[in-house]
């Protein structure tokens, strides 16, 4: 429990270090790594397992920026925006400066994210105690809509993949009557499809298949020096850093959206608000590296807020970590903070520690790094498949899970090709059972009347607010919305 335990310190450091490389190697993603870690750390103590996952998460979100700067290939989706200005900086010989600066602001952003978590989570969890089952249903629906519409661009595709995940999550025994659903009379399906199996298939194998479509990258060969940025520069950009952190925390805390979207929004915001950038944006502006890098690390703390307080993941990685908590017999949600407050503070401390390690590792080992990133995909992908197989098998020691995993891998490949967001499938699979249960409970509390249920959706301030938000989100994507906007602007 305590940080005097050297093993926990070591595991966190190891996780952060590994995370940086996992994030940096194009083709390995944080979600992939964390979903495999769930099954690998199955037999571990929960604290040690969490340390490792938090480390990998924090390191991985940062690590993507290095390959974005050196290779112009973001190692992780969260670093897409970093490449816009990071790579031009590397081309004019300032790779070292860009890496040093991105490490520093990642550290600062990460810290702000953790503080936001420490301050906001207790408040929100108190609010969450007032949540009725229907409010959970609404927040879950919002999460699926958000991840679908923001990451894949089209709301209909988002709803489709979210709904698909929900149906996958419903397979198996009915939580209230224990009847089999969607089992087609098969006993093997009665226990449901384990979501870790879906995760590893979709994030592991299908990612490997999808990445086969692009070729190996060559890194920029140049001397990387002057890594540690001067205080002047750090202070000069402090206002931008703080603004981007706030964006990161908020986007991260919205259910379903994480660092990748936060980084893009922060970049966009910096582009509009910074009047005199060091260089024009897109040609190596330092601001263009700072904004996304701060935001994506701040989003980590943000993403933990809904996860620890409501049991609803803030992004794909926290969705996976929720899975880990379930496996270890903990139920994330408002009761988590009350029953096991030490776990919350443990996570906060852990994130803090991982950020410190991030800073240490981030400023060292850059020469070694360039070699690691150049591992050919031909070697990498077979190993990913191998690890996916081990990971899937180890959850329930069942070979049929491995076949399921492969099936989801190939299926996920199709989803990716046609721009469906696989993140919302996973979110759906995790939130599906939760939505099912909270819907059933809320209808029951209205003594089975569907009209009463719809009435209850607008009866309390919390429910009303959530309902209106969801309705607006859906309307926003329909032609009706455009018509309304036109009419209103004409009247003015």
């Amino acid at each position: 429990m305590s940080y005097t335990n050297p093993i926990l310190l070591f595991v966190t450091a190891l996780g952060t270090f590994a995370g940086i490389y996992i994030g940096a190697i194009p083709g390995l993603s944080v979600t992939m790594a964390v979903s495999m870690l769930i099954s690998f750390t199955y037999s571990w103590d929960i604290n040690t397992a969490l340390c490792l996952m938090v480390g990998v998460y924090v390191g991985g979100v940062y690590g993507g920026s290095r390959s974005a700067i050196l290779l112009n290939i973001p190692g992780a989706p969260a670093a897409v925006a970093t490449a816009f200005d990071g790579y031009p900086l590397a081309q004019i010989g300032e790779a070292g400066r860009a890496i040093g600066l991105s490490t520093t602001v990642s550290f600062v952003g990460g810290l702000i994210g953790v503080f936001a978590l420490a301050i906001a989570a207790p408040q929100i969890s108190e609010l969450a105690l007032k949540f009725a089952p229907r409010d959970y249903l609404l927040v879950a629906i919002m999460g699926i809509l958000l991840v679908g519409s923001l990451s894949a661009g089209s709301l209909s595709k988002g709803i489709f993949s979210g709904a698909l995940g929900v149906i996958l999550g419903l397979v198996g025994m009915d939580p209230i009557t224990a009847e089999g659903r969607f089992t087609f009379g098969s006993v093997a399906l009665l226990n449901g499809i384990h979501f870790v199996v879906i995760m590893i298939g979709v994030f592991g194998v299908s990612e490997a298949l999808y990445q086969l479509r692009s070729l190996d990258a060559q890194s920029v060969k140049q001397k990387v020096d002057k890594i540690i940025p001067s205080w002047n520069i750090v202070f000069k950009f402090l206002p931008l850093t703080i603004r981007s952190s706030v964006i990161g925390v908020i986007i991260g805390a919205l259910p379903g959206t994480g660092g990748d979207i936060a980084a893009l929004i922060a970049y966009d915001q910096a582009k509009r608000s910074v009047k005199n950038p060091t260089r024009p944006f897109g040609q190596g502006a330092l601001e263009g590296v700072i904004a996304p890098e701060t935001a994506n690390n701040a989003a980590i703390g943000g993403a933990y807020i809904p996860m620890l307080t409501l049991g609803i993941p803030g992004d794909a990685v926290t969705a996976v970590i929720i899975g880990a908590l379930y496996i270890h017999g903990l139920k994330p949600g408002p009761m988590l903070m009350i029953e096991t407050p030490h776990l919350f503070w443990f996570t906060v401390g852990n994130l803090l520690l991982a950020n410190v390690f991030l800073y240490i590792f981030g400023l060292s080992g850059i020469k070694f790094f360039a070699k690691v990133v150049e591992v050919p995909k031909g070697i990498l992908f077979p190993i990913i498949v191998l690890l996916s197989t081990i990971g899937t098998y180890s959850i329930q020691n069942s070979i049929s899970d491995v076949y399921w995993m492969l099936g989801f891998g190939i299926f996920g490949y199709f989803l990716k090709i046609y721009n469906f967001s696989v993140g919302s499938v996973i979110l759906g699979a995790i939130l599906g059972p939760l939505m099912d249960l909270s819907y059933r409970r809320s209808v029951m509390s209205e003594s089975g009347s569907i009209i009463g249920f719809f009435k209850s959706l607008v009866s309390t301030p919390i429910s009303l607010f959530l309902t209106v938000t969801i309705v607006l989100m859906v309307l926003n994507q329909t032609p009706l919305w455009k018509l309304a906007v036109k009419k209103i602007s004409k009247k003015k």
Binding site: S39, F40, T41, Y42, S43, W44, V205, L209, L212, R213, P376, K377, G378, I379, F381, P382, I383, V385, L386, L387, T389, I390, Y393, S394, N397, I399, V402, Y403, L406, G409, I410, Y413, F414, I417
Partner: protein, 90 residues
């Protein structure tokens, strides 16, 4: 009006963009690996899988280094997962 020929051409085009050759072959190798996993046991089948897929991706020239590389990778994985993570391997 879509003529029959152009429809098939389109189908062919779609097929080739969705399934580049590499992906079909690699999926085939993975499926074969999963089938062989039970009769040949984990270590043997994984060893074969690693060698075959590495040689497929990186060419026959790579075959010489693929064998020791696969052995090392498999050894490391086996040690880590069997002893550190204490996992039952297939």
């Amino acid at each position: 009006m879509v003529t029959r020929e152009s429809f098939f051409q389109k189908l062919n085009y779609v097929f080739r963009t969705v399934f580049p050759k590499q992906i079909i072959v690699f999926s085939g190798i993975i499926i074969l690996y999963m089938i062989l996993l039970v009769p040949l046991h984990f270590l043997v089948s994984s060893f074969l899988f690693l060698i075959v897929s590495m040689v497929y991706f990186l060419g026959l020239k790579f075959a010489k280094s693929a064998i020791p590389l696969s052995a090392i990778v498999l050894f490391v994985i086996y040690v880590i997962f069997h002893y550190i993570f204490r996992i039952v391997l297939p």
